[in-house]
């Protein structure tokens, strides 16, 4: 255990201690650290604006997770059914966004969604749109960008669980006369659910906390929890409130992640028993 001590000491000083400080500071009533009280939390939960920021952020994570799920399954099915060349290509395409810096990926979406961007140019020249549409600084644009940015986090676990699926099961279903669509719904989907849920959790947490993409593609008018925390901490310098915001956000995200994780383990046990 001796080699563990330096890192444990570092974590105690630079991880555990700060979190304790965060909790302590969130319990002060004023930014001058006067009077201990749960005032910051009451302020948050009695303010419809703050509540909406939180629910919007959770909804964003959910929408992006759903969108990546819809894209990841077909990719995984094609991956599992293809030969080496196609598999390498798909792996490369999945790794590409994973390895490019977040700011670069976000910048790419600014280029794609902008007024003179590729989508507007294509739609106008095809005559499908009469005037350039506003895509940047909209909720939909932000969801699209985050879907692409987070897709690898969904695709990798889904592919992994699909590859681990016993091929005899699908062949048995085929032999018994089930069509491909039916095999997918009744055999593949339930048995690869653990992978999908693992991906769901990763994408949900990543999309909800994606400060850069949220601020640059969503724009200044869409306020979500990360930018709310930043604005309260750095702009307003209201540390007790921003500390409370951070904790509420952390608990909301990790709470949902753990709840879905626990629920899925129960479902998986159900599938195994069946």
């Amino acid at each position: 255990m001796l080699p563990v001590i330096p890192l444990a000491a570092l974590f105690l000083a630079a991880f555990v201690l700060p979190l304790i400080a965060l909790v302590a500071i969130s319990l002060f009533r004023t930014p001058q650290f006067a009077e201990l009280s749960p005032a910051q939390y009451l302020r948050f939960f009695s303010d419809p604006f703050s509540i909406k920021v939180l629910t919007d952020t959770i909804w964003l994570g959910t929408e992006v997770a759903l969108a990546t799920l819809i894209l990841a399954y077909p990719l995984a099915l094609v991956y599992a059914a293809s030969g080496q060349v196609m598999r390498t290509l798909i792996t490369f395409l999945i790794m590409l966004p994973l390895l490019t810096s977040t700011v670069v990926r976000t910048f790419a979406w600014i280029v794609l969604l902008g007024r003179d961007g590729i989508i507007n140019t294509a739609m106008l020249s095809l005559g499908l749109w009469q005037a350039p549409a506003r895509l940047l600084y909209t909720w939909e644009g932000m969801v699209l960008a985050l879907t692409q940015i987070q897709l690898p986090l969904m695709a990798l676990p889904v592919i992994n669980s699909l590859l681990r699926l016993d091929g005899n099961l699908t062949r048995a279903a085929e032999g018994l006369g089930a069509g491909r669509a039916r095999i997918f719904v009744t055999v593949i989907l339930p048995l690869t659910l653990p992978g999908a849920i693992a991906g769901w959790l990763l994408v949900f947490a990543a999309a909800a906390t994606a400060f850069i993409t949220q601020t640059l593609v969503g724009g200044g008018r869409i306020i979500l929890m990360p930018s709310y925390i930043y604005q309260q901490a750095v702009g307003v310098q209201d540390w007790p409130f921003s500390a409370a915001l951070s904790l509420i956000f952390t608990l909301a995200v990790t709470g949902i992640v753990f709840a879905i994780g626990a629920l899925s383990r129960r479902c998986v046990r159900g599938v195994d028993a069946a």
Binding site: L22, F107, A108, I110, L151, T250
Partner: protein, 269 residues
Amino acid sequence: MQRSLIDRAYSTIIGAITAFGMLLLLAPTLVVLIISFTGGITLKFPPPSWSLRWYVELLQSQEIVAPALTSLKVAAAATILSAVLGGAAALGLARSRLKIARVLDALFMSPMVLPAMAFGLSLLLVFNLLGIRLSAATLVLGHTIISVPFVIRMVGASVQQLNPVLITCSLSLGASRWYTFRRITLPLIRRGIVASCFVAFLTSFDNVPVSLFLADARTEVLPIKLWAILEGSLDVRVAAVSGVIVLLTLAGLVCAEIFGGVSRQIGSR
């Protein structure tokens, strides 16, 4: 008859979504690379003409080159720190059967679960309470913490695959602990170390939420600088920076692949 119709529709839909998904994965990176060679002064796509002017302009932009160098230094320092401390911890944890080992393992992994913003803010609050001035060192400290989970997982996985008999053999043949570590353990867990260094470096180089709180005015890092530029205007120089980052990352990936088989490590994560 009806079933085959459903199946054909199913196959078409799967094929179409896959094609769309692959295009979606590739397009943004490709578009950035293309637009970085534009001769125009806007992000108009397709570019009206071609040139290297934005790369030339980038080299002359001290306000972008300096943060880039800072980012590289901070990432290098954070990578070394997290690889040494995290690697040692991973080795220690893998051999221990104590209950506290599992608790510590969970602790070292928790920066992955915690929203990085909350961690950055909490560290800033502590520095302020203790009267520690922000500097490059505080930034490195924050980046080290968030890079550690990758080291713990990847090096830990390599240590798990290591056959302990080899260590026992070496020791019983009279080799010292240090010699055994250098000649037996280290070469066998090299893949995990290289892969985790690669990921740790990218994590630090790319980090915004922690740097946002922990960087002082003098240690401006690249992603924050780019974010600030893009908040204000759509500067084409960012495309050139992006082009450089993409190419360097690909080069780094090739190196890491040669030395450590990094894609297998990331793929199995």
